[in-house]
Amino acid sequence: MESTVSQHTILPATSESDLVTARHLARGYSKEIGLGLVDETKLVTAVSELTRNAIVHGGGGSVCFEQVERDGRQGVRVTFEDHGPGIPDVTVAMLDGGSSTKSLGLGLPGSRRLVDEFELHSEVGKGTKVMIVKWK
């Protein structure tokens, strides 16, 4: 099932100010497809979480926002990419409390629960890529 992309924005994720910009972009894209406030808040929270991961754990990277459509449904797809150390054990990282630093260990598993689609690819020494989609 291919989705069509109607608009996109690529944001560097290197500093804390990028984190704030990422939240604003997530809000803007949510409004664009008319997500309700609760779904919007969930998406913005997941974006905040995953952007911080890319900045703090991944040593910086990029965040790509896309407005997508599949089978007549509108959605927001966000892809987070970093070139950091990667995650040695994805299964552990996806468990509640499996985080390595400074949070409640809910970053990845918590974000997954907030969105409709979640894909994670990580290679040790190369980096991590996470893709999420929230459908209207």
């Binding site: 804390e16 704030v20 911080r52 509640d96 809910l106 629960r113």
Partner: protein, 140 residues
């Protein structure tokens, strides 16, 4: 570089903090430091943390709120968090972030009532309150 700060107001024996700006991580960490310093300086018995201006709370900010509550508690000041937006509450629960140990109230008025009740209750003893006393007070 931002020099923005979150104002901490003293109201009798309580401190009032109202976050009305986008909270980035640095601002959150600074608030933690300043607030604990002000609690020590003023001997405040309670902190009212108004988060009605926040549009999101992610795990970092959630942890910061929990930490503020814990820090002030071991400094003998209660923290009550008020004004959480419904969409944030739904998101936090879905994430599994339930802010254990954080006392909440719906709005500033109810938060003040709760603070007064809790500090009165803890003041009845000799200043040494056991964990069980604390939990009883938490179920009012």
């Amino acid at each position: 570089m931002s020099v923005e700060r979150i104002p901490i107001l003293k109201m009798g024996e309580f401190l009032l903090v109202s976050i009305q700006t986008e909270l980035d991580d640095r601002l959150a960490v600074n608030l933690q430091k300043e607030l604990t310093a002000r609690v020590a300086e003023t001997g405040a018995r309670g902190v009212l943390l108004d988060i009605s201006g926040l549009d999101i709370v992610d795990s970092f900010l959630g942890r910061m709120i929990s930490t503020i509550a814990e820090m002030t508690r071991i400094m003998d000041a209660e923290t009550v968090v008020v004004g959480m937006k419904p969409a944030i509450a739904i998101t936090l629960v879905e994430m599994g972030l339930t802010l254990p140990g954080v006392v909440t109230a719906l709005n500033v008025e109810k938060g003040m009532e709760l603070l007064r009740a809790r500090t009165r209750a803890s003041g009845e003893g000799d200043g040494i309150h056991s964990l069980s006393t604390y939990h009883t007070a938490g179920h009012q």
